[in-house]
């Protein structure tokens, strides 16, 4: 069957438990569930995988990819390059073909013969007449389409030695109670396996049972963050649908229905509003936060733009609110289904006037859970908007991650709230008065006390007792106090994580968020070239002083980001007054998740300019 091409002998890629498979599909063809089964089956064999959906802003008919990194070592970032391409989309054939590593493999549907010019002679071609087999086997058009996916899954399980029992177990979990569906899926899987066993040559890529998954869980960041909101005590969620954040609000709804219904009365301990737009979403959160509930909204860049006026109000009027921004490619509608870290500046300095906001920067679903839960404590403690900045790569891809943890002894920190008893006892209440020297004043919830503690909240300037005032000194007192509060925040936010070489390295790297898994692998790649670096993963803004120290201790610091303008680098320069020349921007922003090879290549080129030229020549 695969004899159209005269393949010259060339070295095959040989790899066990360390390779990249990419599926090129058409959106809406039902490939997603087969591809996920592929990844999960390997996971069940104890081998870490990290899949990534690369999908269009469209419901049906456009190209979509699913890239699976298989790595016994547990590298969960994108590596770069593809070892086996499952090319099921004629539309993207040429580009998909180009991506295959020399010596790599192409798996395709060989029902329709293709001219030799459609192939490469440095790769290994595996043709299987999927359409023909399906047309022979099934009468129904939808079945022909769906089972084609299961059939290639079967063939791949033979080629890569994936344990078919794991796939069948996954089927059984998925189709519990739907035995008919279960049987027909198993049948399609077996058909694929039989064909592959009889007709396809073995390849050099293999999966072998290992024990490297441990107690890790497999979950996407949006689900994780939604759970974090449930555990963090969020009761009000107001949101407006936008990719890639919608599934977060939907997951919150799902978990609330399960865990937040009063068992005695059947009544809900939560309120979720799908608002008319993002201005209303944030407005509702501000109202709820003002009134003592834990409220959050979730959105993406365009929503942040709309929320700006309210964010400034919440900052100045000191109202707790949590905003989860699942970043995507901007500006404007940009690349709505692609990933970026390009809202960093827009969030850090959101709104008019002098404003700065707390940003939490999770690296994976585990931290999405942690930081989302923590955001509510920070919002209450600091009485200010807290941003959790994730992105599409973390938010919408299932990732192997440390299990979620909660200590039942942990109570919520509701911050400085003056009670009716304290007011009754005559405690002095100045809503905007710094009584503890940490810049954080006391607040009262509406309705607390009949004669004391009421105050008027406004975006206009006021004195420490919340009385309207346009006096310069009152305004300055307040703005200075907000800066003291900012300093307080530095010790409360998640601290950066340092991986040092113990004085060996002259250079350092700063990175954050979804860059993290690729960075870990990149450091190893660089190490193989004897290029050593200390790394610092920044987990929040404001930057604790240790971030400034790290920069001062190194001759040169690379700042790796997924945006065009080096936004975190700008923040570092701005906050620490650092000579920009010492911070070298390493930027990746084409909308695909950053790869280990890209980072290592870009840093190596800076560290060994001579060698890089040689390589290029």
């Amino acid at each position: 069957m695969n004899a159209q091409v005269e393949t010259k002998p060339h070295p095959r890629i040989e790899a066990t438990n360390d390779f990249v498979v990419k599926f090129a599909n058409v959106n809406g063809s039902g490939s997603a569930s087969a591809n996920e089964l592929f990844a999960r089956a390997i996971l069940r064999m104890g081998v870490p995988v990290s899949p990534r959906n690369i999908f269009p802003s469209n419901i049906q008919g456009l190209p979509t990819w699913y890239e699976v990194r298989i790595s016994e070592r547990g590298w969960l970032g994108r590596r770069g390059g593809v070892d086996l391409m499952v090319a099921m989309n004629p539309q993207t054939w040429d580009a998909d073909l180009k991506e295959i590593e020399p010596g790599g493999y192409l798996f395709y549907d060989s029902t329709r013969p293709l001219p030799a010019s459609k192939f490469r002679d440095d790769i290994h071609v595996i043709g299987m007449p999927l359409t023909a087999i399906c047309n022979r086997t099934y009468a129904d058009a939808r079945q022909r389409q769906l089972f084609k996916n299961i059939m290639y899954l079967g063939a791949l399980s033979i080629l890569l030695d994936i344990d078919a029992r794991e796939i069948k177990r996954l089927f059984a979990e998925q189709y519990k109670g739907k035995e008919k569906l279960l049987d027909s899926n198993v049948q399609a899987l077996e058909l694929g396996r039989e064909y592959a066993a009889q007709h396809l040559d073995p390849i050099g890529l293999h999966v072998q049972r290992a024990d490297n998954v441990g107690d890790k869980i497999f979950v996407d960041g949006n689900v994780a963050a939604a759970l974090g909101c449930v555990y963090g005590g969020a009761t009000v969620c107001a949101w407006y649908p936008i990719t890639p954040s919608s599934s977060l609000a939907e997951a919150f709804q799902k978990y609330c229905m399960k865990y937040r219904v009063d068992p005695e009365t059947g009544r809900n301990r939560f309120a979720i509003v799908q608002a008319e737009d993002e201005i209303a979403s944030i407005g509702m959160c501000v109202g709820a936060g003002w009134n003592g509930a834990r409220a959050f909204t979730t959105t993406a860049g365009p929503g942040i733009s709309l929320m700006n006026e309210f964010i400034g109000l919440a900052y100045f009027a000191e109202i707790p609110v949590t905003i989860i921004d699942v970043q995507r490619g901007g500006p404007s509608t940009g690349m709505p289904t692609r990933t970026q870290q390009s809202d960093v500046l827009a969030c850090a300095y959101a709104s008019h006037g002098d404003t700065k906001h707390v940003l939490l920067l999770p690296e994976d679903p585990h931290e999405c859970f942690e930081f989302s839960a923590q955001a509510f404590d920070l919002a209450d403690r600091l009485q200010t908007p807290i941003f959790v900045l994730t992105d599409l790569d973390i938010g919408m891809n299932q990732r192997l991650t440390a299990p979620f943890a909660w200590n039942d002894a942990r109570d919520y920190d509701r911050g400085k709230v003056m009670t009716a008893a304290e007011l009754e006892a005559g405690k002095d209440f100045g809503r905007y008065k710094d009584v503890d020297g940490d810049g954080i004043p006391y607040r009262t919830y509406p309705g607390t006390h009949a004669e004391r503690g009421a105050y008027f909240t406004r975006g206009t300037s006021r004195d420490p007792y919340a009385r309207y005032s346009e006096r310069g000194p009152d305004y300055v007192y307040n703005m200075e106090r907000l800066l003291r509060k900012w300093d307080t925040a530095k010790s409360l936010v998640p601290q950066p994580i340092l991986r040092g070489t113990g004085g060996e390295a002259h250079d350092g790297v700063i990175y954050y968020g979804s860059t993290s898994p690729s960075m870990s692998e990149a450091i190893e790649l660089l190490g193989k070239q004897s290029l050593v670096l200390d790394t610092l993963r920044v987990r929040a803004f404001p930057f604790p002083d240790s971030v400034g120290e790290f920069i001062r201790q190194h001759e040169r610091v690379f700042v790796v980001e997924q945006n065009r303008d080096g936004q975190l680098r700008t923040l570092l320069i701005n906050e620490f007054g650092i000579d920009p020349a010492r911070l070298v921007a390493i930027l990746h922003y084409d909308g695909t998740p950053i790869t280990a090879r890209f980072i290592a290549g870009a840093i190596a080129a800076q560290m060994q300019p001579a060698k890089a030229k040689e390589n290029a020549a």
């Binding site: 107001a238 936060g289 008027f456």
Partner: protein, 351 residues
């Protein structure tokens, strides 16, 4: 300007209401609005209504947007928490506040620019959702605070102080509110306190989205000849379709009315609003007919006032959401956190 607090001179003869508060206890800071501004009369009506209804001032949350009208919550109910939000967005903040604590009385105060121009979207959606609130628009047809530009409620053909004629057609807030499902809709006039106070009391005791459009002349920018929102114009064209008496459940009903002219509406809390019909063919229980009536009168240049529509069996957002009786801002980790054991199960389901 800054630290004006009213001297607290309690006149000995000032009567206390049933919960021991004087009328003065419902007042706020001294108004900084222009002398004669309609908005101040509305503040006075709110004070009167709350006092007469024996409302505990601190159980009210007053919210507003931006504008002269939106400043007024500082000038009444000094013991209530207030929130002067951003321009046109009071409804969303009020909605969120209401979700957090269903036990307070939510009073939203806005202007025609605030609600009908920049904030029309939020006005529309808060009403659609049936937020339990009293939403008052102090409608003067102009932006007072930014010095007299037309707002979206300015009538077509009405003339600005500088002589500019408004060419856009007006947005009718009561018509919209009725269409959107508000369950208590009224229009008042700041110059008729007798009519306005009971309208506000009816709105306060209503459970659901209560909206009152109060025509409130701006003496600085829209009280001249050629304006359709001036004191003179409204007095001349005011067509009150009914008179409302608010009857406290605890008080005895003493007033006698001629039969046939009276409709009693029992509110959610048991109180009664008694409608005295002034127009024979107006029915405040028929939404569609009421809308038609108001629009027909409007086309003739009349300003219909009174209680225009009421549904005493309305449901509010909390009922739609099936939220707990206990305000959700009072729930703690005990009620909200599913705990470590559940989390372990969730972890297992993700393997």
């Amino acid at each position: 300007m800054t630290y004006i607090a009213k001297p607290k001179l309690h006149h000995p003869t000032l009567a206390c209401n049933a919960i021991g508060f004087r009328r003065r206890d419902y007042e706020g800071k001294i108004s900084t609005l222009c002398a004669g501004c309609g908005h101040d009369s509305i503040s006075a009506a709110i004070i009167q209504a709350c006092w007469e209804l024996d409302i505990e001032p601190h159980r009210v949350a007053k919210l507003s947007g931006i504008g002269c009208s939106s400043k007024t919550p500082d000038y009444f109910l000094g013991q209530s928490h207030g929130f002067n939000t951003v321009h046109g967005r009071m409804p969303s903040v009020l909605t969120g506040a209401n979700l957090a604590n269903r036990d307070l009385l939510y009073l939203g105060v806005s202007g025609d620019g605030d609600s009908a121009s920049i904030g029309i979207g939020q006005f529309v959606h808060a009403i659609r959702r049936g937020v339990n609130m009293v939403y008052i628009v102090e409608n003067n047809g102009v932006y007072g605070l930014t010095k007299g530009q037309f707002s979206a409620t300015a009538d077509q053909g009405s003339k600005s102080k500088k002589g500019v004629v408004n060419s856009d057609s007006p947005l009718d807030l009561v018509g919209l509110a009725m269409q959107l499902g508000a369950t208590y809709v009224a229009r008042g006039f700041s110059g008729d306190k007798k009519q306005l106070v009971p309208l506000i009391k009816g709105a306060i005791t209503h459970k659901g989205a209560a909206f009152i459009d109060v025509i409130s002349p701006c003496v600085a920018f829209n009280n001249h000849a050629g304006s359709t929102k001036s004191y003179e114009y409204v007095r001349e064209h005011n067509e009150a379709v009914n008179r409302l008496d608010f009857i406290d459940v605890r008080a005895e009903i003493t007033v006698d009315y001629a039969e046939g002219e009276i409709v009693d509406v029992t509110q959610h809390d048991g109180s009664i609003v008694r409608l005295r019909k002034l127009s024979a063919d107006f029915n405040a229980h028929d939404r569609v007919k009421a809308m038609n009536y108001v629009h027909a009168a409007q086309a003739k240049g009349e300003v219909v006032t009174g209680l225009l529509y009421v549904d005493p069996d309305a449901h509010d957002l909390h009922e739609h959401f099936n939220t707990t009786e206990v305000p959700i801002n009072r729930l703690g980790a005990q009620e909200l956190n599913p705990g470590a054991e559940t989390l372990a199960k969730i972890n297992n389901s993700l393997r």
